[in-house]
């Protein structure tokens, strides 16, 4: 049996009797409208210049066949989170039921150890002055909308996603939609080599975002320039 499958006492994925929330982001459905970012900002009064979730993109192809590819990002709520290990005062902690990685703002000393240790750059420092909140000069991050999920609501970004690219649910429940999606589709996670067991799964990330995926799935587009060059030099 692979050691990958062994559960540590901290891990909640596949553990009977506990919930393990996860998010599936179907990149085939993401249109880059940034509504998730706006909903998140509105939900948490996220200050200017920082984001709990963000949608980086890049432009691929050659004119006129160009398109944008998106890779929405947020805290991966890892099963083995390096930020929890790094925090000297246990201000960052993992909720055993649900697997949320949360931040205790009253305890955070702002040493930024968690920011340096996060493999996903998902954390940020809150500014010294805020209009509606007294939580300042500590580190913040996505909470998977813990306050909403505990009231049987989905996270704000999931609620607002117009293409239904984001799906949220309990991965330990075999009947949940996220479970079904992860089971039936090829999914990818960011930086799997870090062994953090992230819980944001992407569908289509390999297809859109890697050379291998483009060769495999978009063969024509990928080979267009080569075909043109070949035809120029080998007119029959």
């Amino acid at each position: 049996m692979s050691t990958e499958l062994l559960l540590s006492d901290k891990e909640t994925r596949g553990k009977a009797g506990t919930r393990r929330y996860a998010m599936v982001i179907d990149l085939r459905r993401c249109i880059g409208c940034d509504a998730c970012m706006v909903a998140c900002k509105a939900e948490f009064d996220v200050p200017l210049g920082v984001f709990r979730t963000w949608v980086p993109y890049r432009v691929v192809g050659k004119y006129p066949k160009v398109k944008k590819q998106f890779l929405p990002r947020l805290c991966n709520h890892c099963d083995d989170p390096p930020c929890v290990r790094a925090c000297p005062v246990e201000a960052t902690f993992k909720v055993p039921d649900g697997g949320f990685v949360l931040q205790n703002y009253e305890r955070c000393i702002g040493c930024k150890a968690c920011m340096a240790s996060c493999p996903y750059n998902a954390r940020f420092m809150l500014p010294a002055q805020r209009t509606y909140s007294k939580i300042t000069r500590v580190v913040d991050k996505c909470t998977f909308c813990h306050h909403r999920v505990t009231q049987n609501l989905v996270p704000a970004c999931v609620q607002t996603c117009i293409g239904r690219a984001r799906v949220f649910g309990d991965l330990n429940d075999p009947n949940s939609e996220v479970s079904q999606l992860v089971t039936r589709n090829a999914t990818q996670v960011l930086r799997p080599e870090q062994g953090t067991k992230p819980h944001v799964f992407y569908i289509g990330a390999d297809r859109n975002q890697t050379d291998y995926g483009r060769q495999l799935y978009n063969r024509n587009a990928f080979l267009d320039s080569e075909r043109e060059a070949f035809n120029r030099n080998h007119s029959l």
Binding site: G49, R107, K112, A116, N121
Partner: protein
């Protein structure tokens, strides 16, 4: 029979008051800078959410690493039984504590919430290397304080060897802990190396001794006390060995990384095309901060001059600051490889080298920490009998002094 070494306080007249005033002014400027950054927040510094540790951390880590190394001289006397260094041991211990306090002050004042320092002292996550370092730093201060007391208190002198040995082991662990802060950051390609711990240990030897030599020379020059060539020759040769050791570890670190294909990008960034980081690495750290001091220290004629030794020490310190800048800031500037094979370019800093421009308050906070350390040393030597009245060769080691004096005579007789 060997003459007993007499320790005396320095007099508090003339230039001493000016020195205290200058250091206090720098300290106040550092405190004002900390207040400015604390009041306005993270954004007035050059630090960002990509480069989370900046100039203050370079100074803080420098002072902490140098603190460990400043205890070298005392360790050589207590642990390895070299009597020549024994008169220097109290100053070595004081300097070590002072540098650590200066470094910790910078570190604490740069926290997002320095007002929550009590939280850091009361809640511990023992899986965090940062929490371990809190123990290591406070423990080091306590142990060296006891060590200093054992050295100064006549009836406790017989225990000073044990305290010195404990301090020696503790400081090795302390610097291992400091290096491991970066060694344990496995998410960053430029960190994540076990060799960073021993690298920081040898860096501490080199930087600590350079600072110690400068303080020693300044103290003896300003108090007009004799400082013999014997001590200086030994210390500067030792510094040269430590500089060579740092170069060796730096070479091993980079060669090992170059062997791993996945690290070629990060290595090329530091060694070839990293702009300011490449310049600091090759020109300041290697050339100015290591090779040039080695030449100066081991040159047969230049190496005898006090001003040249002092210059070499300053260059070693500059090189050390550059080295820490490259390690700490350069390591964060190199982007995370979030999706292997996926080249992201976006307005969210993915796949691009993070920029960092240190601001004046950050720099002044670091200078303030160094000023605090020197202020503690200045006050320590004023009120405690830590400095030997004379470190002339015949006082420190009469036999060696005689032998050294006999050498030219014998040569003349032979001629």
């Amino acid at each position: 029979m060997k003459a007993k070494v007499q320790f005396l306080e320095v007099s508090g007249k003339g230039g001493y008051i000016g020195l205290l005033g200058g250091l206090a002014a720098l300290l106040v400027i550092g405190l004002l800078s900390a207040y400015y950054m604390e009041h306005h927040g993270h954004h007035v510094t050059g630090m960002t959410n990509q480069i989370v540790w900046g100039m203050p951390h370079v100074f803080a880590i420098f002072l902490i690493v140098a603190a460990s190394g400043a205890l070298n001289v005392a360790s050589i006397a207590s642990v390895f039984g070299k009597q020549v260094y024994k008169p220097l041991a109290p100053l070595s211990a004081l300097l070590s504590m002072a540098l650590l306090m200066g470094g910790l002050a910078v570190l604490v004042l740069d926290l997002g919430r320095p007002d929550r320092l009590i939280v850091a002292m009361t809640y511990y996550n023992f899986k965090s290397i940062f929490a371990w370092n809190i123990f290591l730093y406070t423990g080091f201060l306590g142990i060296v304080l006891v060590y200093l007391w054992f050295m100064l208190e006549k009836r406790m002198n017989r225990y000073s060897h044990y305290a010195g040995f404990t301090a020696f082991i503790w400081r090795l662990i302390l610097t291992t802990g400091t290096g491991s802060i970066f060694g344990f950051l496995v998410a960053r390609e430029a960190y994540n190396a076990a060799i960073l711990a021993p690298l920081f240990i040898v860096m501490s030897f080199s930087l600590g001794l350079a600072v110690f030599l400068l303080v020693l020379m300044a103290a003896y020059r300003w108090t007009e006390r004799p400082l013999g060539d014997l001590v200086m020759r030994r210390l500067k040769n030792l510094l040269g060995v430590f500089i060579g050791a740092v170069l060796y570890f730096v070479a091993v670190y980079h060669v090992t990384n170059l062997y791993a294909t996945r690290l070629h990008g990060a290595e090329a960034f530091i060694l070839l095309n990293g702009g300011i980081y490449t310049f600091l690495f090759w020109f300041v750290q290697i050339l100015i901060g290591s090779v040039l001091p080695l030449i100066l220290l081991f040159h047969p004629t230049l190496g005898r001059s006090r001003s040249i030794i002092g210059t070499a020490c300053v260059l070693v310190i500059l090189g050390g600051l550059a080295q820490l800048y490259v390690i700490i800031i350069g390591g964060q500037a190199w982007p995370l490889n979030l999706f292997p094979g996926y080249e992201i370019s976006s307005s969210f800093y993915d796949g691009v080298v993070a920029s960092y421009r240190p601001t004046l308050p950050e720099f002044l906070l670091g200078i303030g920490g160094a000023a605090l350390a020197m202020l503690i040393v200045a006050l320590g030597v004023r009120f405690l009998r830590l400095l030997p009245a004379s470190l002339a060769d015949e006082r420190v080691d009469p036999h060696a002094a005689k032998a050294a004096a006999a050498e030219p005579e014998a040569a003349a007789a032979q001629a």
